[in-house]
């Protein structure tokens, strides 16, 4: 539903968009992440007080960079211990007017998703520095006290001291950035906590950031594939939980609740990504998601094609979950016995994992073996660490016995 935005909201949107670019520019120029962040915060405060009064400058980004750079230098000047750095900093040209157009948001993202950081730290730092969320908002999303989150973010920052602020051409670095964004998306998507927790903001944020990466790297199939996967997955959000937060599996979802704008965009991106070699996991997962999303009824799903795609995915990744999904697709194409056979080798790899029992439950149910199905659902319910999933599995077991 579109609503007209107030001037205040426009102002906030603009600052939200400019902040990572400004921070990126000041980090690049100063080489000091923590101090640059303080300086940018002060510049934003200055903007909030002076722009409404004196009008917005012609080039807001340059104004913010210049103001933040001045604050940075002031700060340096006040620190006797850092005198030598002050001389270096003061001598450097502060970028004015037009800033080079390679995007500092992307550089900042590469820095925040540094392989030295654990995924959890990288996500928190990215949300704070690139996404512009407050520490309190991030803490709420993770259900930890604000002080705990502040500590994590500041540790992550100090770990990055001296890290190179260069866009690395190393494909591993890009892969790491995409992996962090994927995890961020998943944290928002899989959480069924109440809306007051704003966990779903994590998914929106991940989509927004992935769009920013794609704007810089439009030719990269992995990036396009990841964006497609996120859109096609997020499209189902409203239908995947019921009124009491209960989980609703794909086959039983009310498809009229799906976000069809996202599906249209996601399918187009998935097709484009699939034609952009080399073919990676995100492209394949997006293609599978597109096949699910583009049909109006679960019965119309093109399972043979999904089975083929899981076969390709299995060649690329050793992830046992992929094998598990391939077994499900095989059951949909060739019947439950074919699926059960494919699950057998997973007993060693996924011993005691709830997903293996849950899948067996579904396949025995398909066979009409209700008692065995219920046993597997109960075993899965005991093994899961997720509350909504446990409720779903207990419900399945109860409905079969």
């Amino acid at each position: 539903m579109a609503t007209s935005k107030t001037t205040d909201e426009h102002f906030e949107d603009l600052l939200r968009e400019l902040t990572p670019q400004v921070l990126g520019a000041v980090v690049r120029w100063s080489g000091d992440f923590a101090a640059a962040e303080d300086a940018v915060q002060e510049a934003l405060l200055a903007a909030a007080t002076t722009w409404p009064r004196d009008g917005r400058p012609d080039n807001p980004k340059a104004w913010l960079i210049q103001t933040a750079s001045r604050r940075f230098i002031d700060e340096v000047r006040q620190q006797q211990a850092r005198r030598r750095r002050e001389e270096r900093a003061a001598l450097r040209e502060v970028p004015l007017g037009e800033v080079e157009e390679y995007d500092d948001t992307l550089r900042l993202l590469f820095l925040c998703c540094h392989p030295e950081l654990t995924p959890a730290s990288a996500i928190a730092l990215t949300l704070r520095a690139v996404g512009g969320l407050t520490t309190a908002e991030i803490a709420t999303a993770y259900l930890v006290p604000e002080a705990t989150m502040a500590q994590r973010i500041s540790r992550a920052k100090s770990k990055l001291k001296g890290a190179s602020f260069e866009l690395s051409a190393d494909p591993d670095r890009l892969r790491n950035v995409l992996h962090v964004l994927y995890l961020m998306f998943n944290e928002g998507y899989t959480s069924t906590s109440g809306p007051e927790l704003h966990r779903s903001d994590l998914s929106s944020e991940a989509i927004r950031l992935t769009r920013a990466v794609r704007a810089q790297l439009p030719e990269d199939g992995q990036v396009t594939g990841l964006l497609a996967l996120m859109l096609l997955t997020d499209a189902r959000r409203a239908a995947r939980t019921g009124p009491r937060g209960e989980l609703i599996p794909l086959a039983e979802q009310d498809r009229s609740l799906w976000n069809h704008d996202y599906i249209t965009e996601g399918v187009a991106l998935a097709v484009e990504a699939f034609d952009t070699p080399p073919l990676g996991e995100y492209q394949l997962q997006a293609a599978i998601a597109a096949l699910h999303d583009e049909v109006d009824r679960a019965e119309e799903t093109d399972w043979p094609q999904i089975l083929a795609l899981y076969g390709l995915l299995e060649n690329l990744s050793g992830n046992p979950m992929v094998k598990l999904n391939r077994a499900i697709a095989a059951a949909m194409v060739d019947g439950p016995d074919a699926g059960l056979k494919l699950l057998e080798p997973l007993d060693a790899e996924l011993a005691g994992h709830h997903r293996l029992d849950a899948t067996r439950g579904h396949l025995y149910e398909m066979r009409g073996d209700r008692e065995t199905a219920a046993e597997h659902f109960r075993a899965a319910a005991r093994a899961t660490t997720s509350l909504p999933e446990r409720d779903y599995l207990m419900g399945k077991a109860a409905s079969l016995s």
Partner: protein
């Protein structure tokens, strides 16, 4: 990140006796070990919450009684094998890390600096992630 609750259990039968009879130096060393550990968890951003519980003499046990008012009893009883003395809620990368933190707490020194080796129960918190595979 995964949340775990570490439950520090004391030997119920001894609840009212031992700590009060420790040397002050031993007591200080014991508390310092625990508070240093908690400070490290604060610094690392892994601490969610920590609380010690009042002694069992303050405990009440409530049982609903379908007929009349709930039944209130004292408890847990002195002969209880284990009594919950306090708990720490942590948010950590892995179960391995949770066990490491628990082992540290369990190593808190007792009389004469000998590690008490109290049992620390490690319980994973149920999460709200409905990670239903979207086949």
């Amino acid at each position: 990140m995964t949340k775990f609750m570490l439950l520090m259990n004391m030997d119920g039968g001894n609840c009212d006796v031992p700590m009060l009879e420790w040397d002050k130096a031993d007591m200080d060393a014991h508390l310092k070990h625990l508070s240093d550990g908690l400070e490290r968890l604060r610094q690392s951003g892994e601490l969610v919450e920590v609380n010690g519980l009042t002694w069992p003499k303050h405990a009440k046990v409530v049982r609903a009684n379908g007929v009349s008012a709930p039944v209130l009893t004292d408890g847990p009883y002195a002969e209880s094998k284990e009594v919950l003395a306090g708990y720490t809620m942590i948010d950590v990368e892995s179960e391995e890390r949770a066990l490491e933190i628990a082992a540290e707490q369990s190593a808190a020194p007792g009389p004469g600096g000998v590690p008490l080796e109290q049992p620390i129960e490690v319980r994973r918190v149920m999460d709200s992630d409905g990670d239903l595979e979207d086949y």
